[in-house]
């Protein structure tokens, strides 16, 4: 198709000036865009208010879509569960009987553990849940890994709080609006979580890669070796994440830096639990009283 040359509107001065002005406006807007991009490059949290304001409007749309998807998706599951009910019932009963002894032993150990801790005079912090809500959407076109949570500051969700799933850690709140919040997922390249190995307590950092996987980087001085299926849990260092939440599972052999996958695959089907930051930062010191010179 031949391009129509709409930049020469004819002999009308007025129309020519109009076209010229629109180009001036577009170039100026582009330069403003470049400045905004530079601003958000140096401080990614700028304009978070505008983003959360839009998310307030769009999150209900996503959650309705998600609800519809869940409802339709649960139909075959519901139909399928009617078959094999008797066999399943029998198997579950047997499993409960088998687990009874283990449960009793665990109760005894739990009691003993509490008693010993009391004897040692340890003060334990308990992670306080804030709210449980669903993740409704994410950023599938961007190289950043964000998700939108369907709860915000009206539900006491604040910036910096950890987000947990049923199997392990999901991420951290980075922006919070009235009714929605943005979650930085573990797989984001800017995310970094202090972890330790379950087997021997080897300290490491779980850093997101941006392609769905996680790099586990050893922080100890000695050369560390990793084996597949090593599980890393949060260490509680830094005071944001509560300790002993599963984070990553190592995929292959390696030294010092190794590829791992997140234990918790975040999805819109599960609930996400927001907790209070484990050791909240101390409140800012009160401003010193200004000495008023006496006249």
């Amino acid at each position: 198709m031949a391009p129509s040359n709409n930049r020469r509107p004819g002999f009308s001065r007025r129309a020519q000036y109009g076209v010229f002005a629109s180009y001036v406006f577009a170039v100026a807007g582009m330069l403003v865009g470049v400045i905004l991009l530079a601003l958000s490059y140096f401080d990614p949290t700028t304009f978070g208010a505008a983003r959360t304001a839009v998310a307030e409007v769009t999150a209900p749309v996503s959650s309705v879509l998600s609800y519809a998807g869940r409802t339709v998706g649960s139909v075959p599951d519901g139909v399928g569960s009617y078959f094999m009910v008797h066999e399943q019932n029998f198997a579950l009963r047997r499993q409960i009987a088998d687990d009874h002894a283990v449960t009793m032993r665990a109760r005894a150990i739990n009691y003993e553990n509490r008693r010993l801790k009391a004897l040692l005079g340890l003060r334990e912090r308990i992670s306080v849940p804030v709210v449980s809500a669903r993740l409704v959407s994410s950023s599938p076109t961007s190289t950043r890994r964000f998700a939108v949570l369907n709860a915000g500051s009206w539900q006491n969700v604040e910036r910096g709080q950890p987000v947990l799933g049923p199997d392990g850690l999901i991420g951290q709140i980075v922006e919070s609006g009235p009714n929605t919040a943005r979650v930085l997922l573990l797989t984001d390249p800017e995310s970094s979580v202090p972890v330790r190995r379950t087997r021997d307590g080897l300290p490491a950092l779980a850093v997101g890669r941006g392609d769905g996987l996680i790099d586990v980087r050893s922080v100890s001085n000695a050369a560390a070796t990793f084996a597949p299926n090593d599980v890393f849990v949060t260490s509680g260092a830094g005071g944001v994440y509560p300790p002993n939440v599963p984070v990553a599972r190592v995929l292959r052999h390696g030294r010092d830096i190794v590829l791992a996958e997140a234990v918790m695959r975040a999805s819109t089907l599960d609930f996400a639990l927001v907790q209070r930051a484990f050791l909240p930062a101390p409140p800012p010191p009160a401003a010193p009283p200004v000495a008023v010179p006496k006249p």
Binding site: A2, Y23, A26, R144, D211
Partner: protein, 170 residues
């Protein structure tokens, strides 16, 4: 001004819907990111940008020269890319297409596809450089995303052409 009697080769009269339809369809393309899924890696092409380029390449007067500023702002608020990326790069794409139109007397679909491929790759690569530290191992996923976006352009182009056809009450 609406003529009472239209010949078979006259253009369809412009309505408010037909004037705003390009912008609305681009915004709807930006809204594809609202689909309820938690992406582990960037798998979705920038559908809003593809719609914008398709409209601009099919019908040069579909959108004014300043339209990518507003539409890019809307996309930035939804896409999770750094704020300002859409405003700057979408406007640059429009300027580039204007320059190409100045040189090229005639475009066919293959050239449209090539121009759109350049624009999409430009947006995604600048987004990757601005959003993520330089050493992050996301280059392969971004390359795959660029390729899927380029492959999707003919479909989006067909969709825009279908939206652009004149609806005639019989």
């Amino acid at each position: 001004m609406r003529s009472r009697h239209r010949g078979p080769f006259d253009e369809a009269s412009e309505t408010r819907l037909s004037r705003l339809l390009p912008a609305f369809s681009v915004m709807l393309g930006s809204c594809v990111t609202l689909w309820p899924t938690i992406a582990g890696f960037p798998f979705l092409p920038p559908v809003g940008l593809l719609m914008l380029l398709a409209w601009r390449l099919i019908r040069a007067d579909a959108l004014p020269i300043w339209a990518p500023l507003a539409l890019g702002l809307f996309d930035d608020l939804l896409s999770g890319q750094p704020f300002g990326l859409g405003i700057a790069t979408w406007a640059m794409c429009f300027f580039m297409i204007d320059l190409i139109d100045e040189r090229l007397m005639f475009r066919d679909f293959w050239q449209n596809w090539l121009i759109a491929a350049g624009g999409t790759a430009f947006y995604l690569v600048v987004g990757r450089l601005a959003a993520v530290p330089f050493g992050a191992p996301v280059d392969t996923v971004v390359l795959v995303q660029v390729l899927t976006s380029i492959m999707l352009f003919p479909v989006v182009s067909l969709l825009c052409a279908w939206l652009d056809q004149d609806y005639e009450p019989a």
